[in-house]
Each structure stands twice: as C-alpha cells, then as structure tokens.
Symmetry: D2
Subunit: 359 residues, 4 copies
C-alpha cells in the first residue's frame, strides 16, 4: 500500500466545518476530485451525528453530490481516518482545533485566519510562494498546518506577483468591491445590501494590507522576510453573489510600460501550472481586453473559478499604473485555493505517507 | 387636565420592541405625529438601560429623529407612563407581555400575530371594519388589545373591501411577491435572495388565507362571523426592499364589469378617510392606469405609504377578474397601519382618559 | 459521404441572429456539441462581414469559445452551407426569413414566435409531443420549420405533461416570476427592475395561455386538436438573471393524491430520455424536497439547465393542487430547447441527408 | 411688476429635455418650489405637442405632480415665456441649443457637460465657488449659461472644499461606486448590472479628474486658475438605484489630524447655507459616525438629497487620509444641484428682470 490508499486509490480527506458556506464549497469541489476522496465531513457538536443533507442547508447552485447527503457528520476533533484535513472552521474556534489535529499527526490545510500570520506556518498561494512550504519542516507538531490567504488577498497577490518579479512592486492602493458570499450564510442581511454598498468589512483592510507582504516575502533562515512594499486598502461590500473586484494603483520600482506589464501577466507561468496539479488554472492570470473588464458575473468562472483576471491597465504617472482585478472569492479565495495548496503539498511529497495518485 | 396631557398637548405613547425593524418604523412614523408623542421606547432586557441610538442599529433611510437617539430604552413591561402602547414585539414573546399591559390598564395596539385570531380581539383595518372596535368592550382586561393584520393581508383586504361591499367576493386566489423588509433584520440572508426568488414564507399563506375572513366578517352577538369566502394563497420572497405585490384572481357573486369594478375602487370612501385621522390616506385605494402598474419601487410611497394601489384589472371569465395590488409592508402593513388603528380608537373615544387633541 | 459530413464527422449547423442574447446561448451550447458543429454565424446586415467577437458583445459567464471569435458573421439569408439552421432572430424579421430558408431546403429550428401557432408547424417539446414532428411532412417547403415554445411555456408544459397523461389536466392558473435574460440585451433597463417587480410582460400571458394547448394537443388528420383545458396566466418580471419561476394551481379530471402526483412526476420517462439525445436531461422533471424549492439561483442549472424542477406540491381542494415549477429560460426555454428539437429530428431521420453521427 | 411675476408671484421656469431621467427629477423638485413655478416643459420634436404624462414614462417614486400631467410638451427651442431655463438635454444636442437660448436672452442652467469646461462659463457648486458666477458678465450672449458639474464630481468637491480651504489639497485618488440612475433610462441594461459590477463608465474618469480643478480654481483676470492639485479616478457602476459612493485618499499640504479634519467638515458653513436659498442643505457636509457609513440606501436622502455625507476618516501616512463620501446623484448631482445654482443666481440679482420672491 502506498499510503494514499483508500477504496479507489484516491487520498481520503476530511472537511472540518463542512456544513457552512465555505465547507459546502469544499464538498462541491472535492466531488469527483481526481486525487482526493471526501471521506469525512465534520462540524460542530450540534450537527454531529446527523446526516449531512440535514445538518447543512445546501446553498450551492450545483446539486448536493450523491453519496454525500447520507454521510454522517462527525465532530471536528481528532483523530480522523483522513491524514489530510481541510479546515473551513470559523475563526472563533479554528485556532486550537487545528493545532490539535496537527499534534495528532494530520496535515491541516486551513482557510481560517488564525494561523495565517504565525511565523511557523506557510501562508500559501501555490503559484506565488511554493517555496514557503519548507516552513512545514520546522513546525513543532507531528503533522502540520498550511494556511490559505483571505479571499481578497489571493486575487490581488496573483495579479501582483508577475509585476513584482519583473518590476518590483513598491506601493499598492486597492479598493475592493466584495461579494456577499465572502461573509458566509446568513452573513450579510439582505436589508443591509439590496440597493446598497457597505463601505466596511471588519478586519478586511488589515488582512489585505499585511497578508500579501508575507506571501511575497523571501524565506530565509529567520523565516519569511517581507518585501519593501506598502499596501493601503479600502474594502466595500456590494450586491454581488460571487466574485471580488478590486481597483488597484500599483507603484513600480523599475521602468515599465503598458506593453511590458501585459507581457509580464501573459508570460506568467508558475511551476504549479506546469506540474499538472488538478486545480491549477492555465493561464493563472487572464488578461482581458475591452473597456469594461473584468466583471464578476462574466469572468469569475474563468479557469473554473481558479484564475485571476485583470483588465483596464493604464499608466497613471511615472512608475504608477492603474488596473482592475477579479477573482472568485469562494473558489480561488477559499475552498479551491486550499485544495490547490493540498495538491502542491502532496505533489512535493511533503505529506508523509501520502503519494500523488498515479505516480 | 384633559387626559391627553403630555408636555405639548399630544398623547404620550410607548413602543415595545422599539429597536427592531418594525419598531424603528414606529419611531420614524411617530416623529412629528400631530396627535402622539413618542414618550417611551422599550425593548428586551438586553437593550434596557442603553441609549436608543446604541441599542438600535438604525436602518431607515430617514435620519434617526433628534431627541430619540438619547432616549434610554426601558424594559418591555408594565407599568409605563403612556396609556397607549404600540407593540412591535416578536411573536415569540408578544402574547403574555401584551396581556400584562392590557391587565395593567394600557391599550395595546399590536403588530404581532399572537392575538389576531383571538375572538375577543379586533383584527382591525380602520377603513374596512371599524365597527369591530366594539369588541374592546367585552375584553376581560382593564385596558385592551387591538391587532393589526399581517403585512400581506392588509393590502389585499383594502383592495377586496370595495368589491366585497358591492359585488360579494366569493373566492380569491393570490400569489404574493414580498419584500425582504417584511422579515426584519437580519431576516433574509443576502445569499438567499440576491438573483433569486424564494417560493415560501413560513406561516404566511395560512395568515393570508384566514385573516381576511375575520376582517371582512360581520360582528354579531357571537362575535365575528366570517363571510362565505375562500382564499388560496402562494407566497414568495423577492429581491425588493419594501412593498408587497400580489397577483389576484377574484370571484364575485353579483354581476360586475371592468368599469363597475374600477368605479367601486374609485368611489371607496370609508368613514375614516373623511374623519380626519392623520394617517388615513386619501384615496384609500389608488387605481393606476398603464400596462405595468403597480410596481413596488414606483408606487409603494403613495398616500405616504398608507394607500393600496391596484392595476391591470381584466376580466377572466364569468364573474372572475384578475388584478394586481401593492402596498407598503412596513408602513401600511405594520407600523403605519397600527398607528392608524390607534388614531381610530382615540377618535372614537374608546381609550378612557385619552381625547383626540384639538377637540 | 453520409450527408452528416463536415470536417470532423459532426453535422454543420448555422445560427441566425447569432450576436443577440439567445444567439449567444446557441453559440455557447453548440460549442463541443457531440453531433453538431457550429459552421456559420449569421446576423443582420449591420454585423455581416465583421468578426463574431467584434459584432457580438459577449455576455455569457463562460468565455467565448475559441474558434468562434474569428468567425466572420454572414448575412441571415439563404443559401448556407449548413442544412440545419437555428433561428434566434427577432420576431420582427423572423417570419419571412425562416420561410425563405425553408423554401431553400433548410430545416429551420426556430426560437422565434412567428410560426409557433402556424397549424403546419410543430410547436415541439421533445419529451411532450415528439409525434407532432410528423407535421413536417405536410409542409409546403422543400425544407421545413420546427418551432420551440416561449420560455415560460416550456417549464410549465414539462411539469403538466405527466399530470395530463395520468389525471387529465382541465384548468391551470399560473403566476410567473420571470428572469430579465428573457428580454435579451439591452432588454429590461436596470432602472426598471432593481428593487422592483414589473407585473407585466408584453404578449407573454397570451403565449402562456395558448401555446400549451397546441403542445398538449392530439395530432389528427385535421392537424393538432387541443385538449379540453383552460389556462389563465399572470406574468411578472423580477430581478433575477436566469430562471423563470411559476406558482401554479392545477385542476385535474381524475382522482389524484399528493403521492400519486409525485409518482407521476418521478416516473415520467419520455422516449427521448431513453434514446440518447445529447441534450435530453434525465430526469426530465426533478422533484425537489424541502419547504422552499425550487429557487432560480439554486436549481436553474439542474440537468445542465434542461430539466424542469418542481416542488411545494400541496392539495388545495377537491381535484386541485398547488405547486411551484422552475426552468432555465435561456437554456431549456430557448437555445437548449431548440437544440434538443434538432437532435430529435435528426434522430428520427426527418432531415433528409443528415444522419445521427455514430450510427 | 417686479419681474419675478407669474400667476402666483413665483418665477416661471422651463425645463428642456423634461421627459428624460434628469428632466423628470427637475419636474419633481420644481413642484411646490417656493421661488420657481414650472411653466414650460420642453423635449424633442418627437414629444412636442403631446401631454407630458404621455410623452414621459414617469419613473420617479413620487407621483407625477398634479397639473404637470396635462401640460403640453413644447419644442426645446427659443423663445420661451420663461427667462430662466433648466437644461436636462443630452450632450449630443445640448451645446448649440443652449447657446441659442443664451443668445435669445435666457439664463440657461445646464446639467449637460457641453459647456462645463468652456472658460467663459461658470462650473458652479454654490457652496464652493459662488464667486465664479462673475463669469456671467463676460459672456458673449444676451442671456447666459451656468453649468452644474458631473454627478460624481459634486459629492467629491463638497467633501474636498473644507479640506482644501484649511489644509490645501494636493492629491486625490478616488474610486467611485456609482448608481445606475446616473445613466438615465434605459441606460444600464439589467443584464449588465444584476449580480455584477462594471468597472468602467465612459468619460467619467476624465470628468472627475478635471472638473474639480476648475471648481476649486481661483477666478482671476484671465479666468479660472486651477489649483496645484492632481486627481486620479477609477469609476465603477454598481447595482444601486440612487447614490454615488466614493472611496478617497486625499493628500494634504499642511498638517492635519483626524480631529482637525472632522472639525473642518463640521465647521463648513458656506455663505449660501446662511442666505436662505431654498435648496441649500444644512449642514452641507454631514459627518457620520459609525464603522460603516455612509451607505447609499441609508444616507442618500440626507439634506433632502442635497448634502454630501462623509465617514470612515482615518489617517494613512504623513499628510494623507482615507475617507468615504456619498451624495445623491440625481438630486444633488443633477437636477437639485442645478436648481440651487439658479437660486444663487437669482439671489445675487444676476438674472436681469428676475428678483428673489418675497424681497
């Protein structure tokens, strides 16, 4: 047995917090996943023992996958059969629960914010900082913890990375227009958002101003060293179901033109795109022509919801450019992004006992 | 002292459940009311003792009235200074609290459903069944209880009353498209209703099928006798902030034509419209021309949100007609409707110790 | 050569009116179709000669299929290479253009309303009235015309058919809540529909009251004989992107119960579902449990947008039941429905010179 | 006769382009105006001669004012009875028509963009640059032209003016989230904006980057001298009916703190606020507390839609602050703003033959 075993050769995985909004996306995206088999669904004590179809109010546009409806929800506590565990837990409980799993030998790939800025834990965007996975080796637990960034961080970082590599990003001003699905269910009340904009999302601006610095940082002996880069963010909620749009001004250190920036985006070919990870989009960054792109309803599904799209690039003044970027906040920005992190970890052989299927 | 006393000659009133969605509408509509002065705001124990501006997350489009922000929220329990008490309490607690107030000598005008079908309590639409106020005399409490119908009932009943008087309504089929404000705050999640219709509202169809029978009923020695009328309802939630729209088929007993029905609506002049109640709209029923009326965004404010509008009347088959009706669910269908009930009770001298100001 | 020829063994097809809203759905759904290859895109004179990507403002959530962007738009006039022609033309021009194509020997499958009630032309829902295809034989043209019903008709008819077969449908009252995509682009102004309901859609009620009678009719020597059935409709536009929801009361001739009706829907297995037509959904009618289903955002994609979903079935009075039905108006109700009609015609060998690929 | 004559002592005024979206707002706001009486409604040749109720598809939430419905629409050409003429004409025709009126001796107050950057014409925000009215004297026409800025400019300029006076504004970065009403009717298609954001509005960024420089400029012998200030704008359309929200970063020349900025806004008391112009809001700038203000649905009606509201002020780095501002785009940003301009001109006696009523 290779260790990646399971009934059909796929790696068994568990989802913690499986009944919530992000948890449901994990369930949806893991259905028919070529490497992973959803073996366990876990939630709070209140849901434990009930069938998944009863415990979760399914709110996805695709039907609840067959076979999942009858799965009995377990408690979000170790041990589990699955070595690989996805966490869609609320930040209110995620911290100690995830550490308990890590101590018990599980690899936890978490969408919660609790360990994102922990210096021992990689804050991972596989196309951007795959080398940060090396932090796993220094973790004090038998298993490990990998975190996925905030939903608005990911799209921004994917758009910035090719520019940072080639021109050096020094300053970023970003105004987001974020979808309601980012707040989960019930999340944003319809009375708050119909015919409205809410110019505030608790804690979001702080995340967007700090997480990219860790992701774009350099891994050294002392851990991750952030780049010389400042970000200022203003975050808004808008009446959109899925897809976070961001208006960005980026200041660059080295000379750039509209053409060289477009080229940098189009040429961006991170290693993961080439290594056949099932959830890696290609291209990673989709450059859209036309006056009025990207738009959430039209472009959020690009790359099966895993790509970042960019458009409206225009020079502003010396060394500064404006553009618009968009990504799917509950696919790329949550469950899909975390699954890609897990794919990378398995591919790199960093999960003891779990080998990439088919190799 | 006239009994209608108070610092400025207006009648002091209290609002129970003043911090919620309907409670806020009471606060908004009582501001600058010519007869009533908002003297007390009451809410749950959790809010009691805090300033209103802190306890309530104000969600109305008009600013929080001056003078109200600093009012200290009291508990929703008797005794209060105000003889006249409006109840915007949740149905989960309204029943016993309202009876306690009635026992303590207060006249409670309630928007909660708890006492609506109580045979001792008038379910009042002042333009439709003002004579039902006589039920107050037989109530076992020192004070009394009046109830305001469900938000979707009121608009329907206002449209039906002129037809019932003149032609005899025998059957009604109604499909509603209801605004999210009817569910309060947080109420309907944005994830449930953006780009969506929810074809179900818990308990709503039952209310719409039974409440109109009591309102259109005849007050006799045995209480209210319902008419020979059947209603079938299907209720939907739609992404609209305010205003319930209903598609109706009505079956009539006596011969009618498009013209005589329009005439019945236009001629409808209930006594309250003539007696100068401050919140009574004139006309009560607004007949709209044009292919595509009424519409919630365009017509919900007619009569300051107190009128019912009707349109698209067309004959269907012998004795049956189709039409569309609309009313403002949180003004006419909740706080505004209850205030009009109180105005009628004061005007008729049915509140011991309280006289109509200016008489 | 089999006649179904073409570069890759698939049947070449053309789309008339390919740049509009329904035309774009044809382009999207024909991409990677197993039997049909999009060979020609045609539009008005104004667009002819331009590349498709320029002539059409692509508004679908999936990317414009590769290979289509550069296709040169041709005029919507015969002759064309493709024997099979889909018409997404506006009703203002569709009538004579479609007849010109039929005279020139093409089989036209049309989504326009012009020939729907023409007694010589089948108004086809492949799961409901496949035998009506026989009308093709009596048509006066060398080619032929098949029509696809109105977008709100299709969902209703799919839900009614199993009940009609088993219990005899005698009366239908239906109130629709229709998506804006049904009106095309620009179609409904955002100023008309944000925070609003429009209780009127021009011509829609008439279509919904007459088209089902033809579809459910019996093909005899004299043409299609309608059943003894009356329909009354009220049609509304709501702020939903895709998916028409309908609240229905149906009167049945023969005894039925909630259980036997659910059984009729679940057992409905039309011949096309078994015969392997690529676009035929299975099941045709999806019975949804739960209080609040179907909902457009959650259920419009069922069966890849080709199924009708039903829910909330409840008895109303003797022989009458209420339920809610939903279908995707631009897939099942337009382009997808027409493609299924074409698949049926090819499968039945009714298109001279075109054989089902792979046979 | 005082010259301000008319049947009731009010000044007769005309509206050009009265049937469109902005024109309707003029009609609504001029109803019951204390100084102005709507005497003439004018539109295109196509509408001329028809009753206003027929020619205009009334889309306002308030009912069409009585007396206006029957007014016969005239052509948008001089001469008119009214000396004072409001222009809600489309930019496609406004230029020469407005000049023709000016030549014919009328004072035109225009909401069209055509003459905004004309150095002879004041681009007027009465609270900000009333002294620019002096440009009227140098105009070559017998009458004159005053222009009202773009809808997104006005809110921004009102928020900037107190800061510019006290601290010197040197740089502005602004991202707008604009309501659909700004595009008129039909304007933005519902298919474009439901569940969506459009990150582009044609010509809007240019207006927002240039108009404030003229408004905040100094009137000298050579005309208006712009300040040393740069603006960069990114403009988005969002699914909101009314109210433009903007996220702003402002760079200041002189030292400021959060407190001194709030003080500058609160102390802002322009002359017009004191001089009793009927449409001047007080305060001009409403400073909102709370984490999540301003919001279009809650705050657009402040000051009867004429105030700018600001909130979320926070320091960013040395000399730079972030904040959010909001104003009502079809009241303050269009018809209401133009009416206030006219009030100022009449008050200053700059319209020959027209005196402020009641003086």
């Amino acid at each position: 047995m290779t260790g990646s075993g399971g009934v059909d050769g796929r790696i068994p995985v568990a989802v913690l917090g499986a009944t919530g909004s992000v948890g449901q996306r994990f369930v949806e995206l893991l259905h028919n996943h070529p490497w992973f088999r959803l073996a366990e669904v876990c939630a709070s004590e209140r849901s434990a023992g009930r069938a998944y179809a009863e415990a979760a109010r399914w709110m996805q546009a695709s039907p609840l996958p067959e076979g999942v409806a009858e799965m009995v929800v377990g408690p979000s506590a170790p041990p589990l059969e699955s070595r690989l565990v996805f966490s869609a837990l609320d930040a209110g409980v995620a911290g100690p629960v995830e550490e308990a799993f890590a101590r018990a030998g599980h690899l936890v790939v978490s969408n919660a914010r609790n360990h994102r800025m922990d210096p021992r834990v990689p804050l991972l965007v596989p196309e951007v900082n795959p080398e940060h996975l090396a932090l796993l080796e220094g973790q004090p637990w038998e298993g490990g913890i990998i975190t996925n960034p905030n939903c608005s961080t990911i799209g921004l970082v994917l758009a910035l990375k090719p520019l940072h590599d080639r021109f050096g990003v020094r300053s970023v001003r970003v105004v987001t227009m974020q979808a309601v699905s980012g707040a989960g269910i019930p999340g944003v009340s319809s009375m708050e958002i119909l015919d409205n904009v809410i110019p505030f999302i608790g804690g979001e601006e702080e995340k967007l101003e700090t997480e990219p610095l860790k992701i774009l940082g350099t891994l050294g002996a002392e851990g991750v060293e952030p780049p010389d880069l400042r970000i200022w963010a203003q975050c808004n909620r808008v009446p959109v179901v899925d897809g976070h749009t961001a208006c960005v001004w980026v200041g660059l250190e080295r000379p750039a033109t509209r053409e060289t920036i477009l080229e940098a985006w189009r040429d961006f070919s991170p290693a993961v795109a080439a290594s056949g990870l099932p959830s890696a989009p290609s291209p990673t960054v989709v450059v859209l022509d036309g006056d009025a792109s990207p738009q959430p309803r039209l472009h959020r599904e690009l790359g099966k919801g895993m790509a970042a799209s960019v458009g409206r690039l225009r020079p502003v003044k010396g060394g500064e450019f404006a553009f618009v970027t968009l990504s799917h906040n509950t696919i790329r920005g949550a469950a899909g992004g975390a699954i890609l992190c897990a794919e990378l970890a398995v591919d790199r052989g960093l999960v003891p006992g779990l080998a990439r299927p088919g190799r």
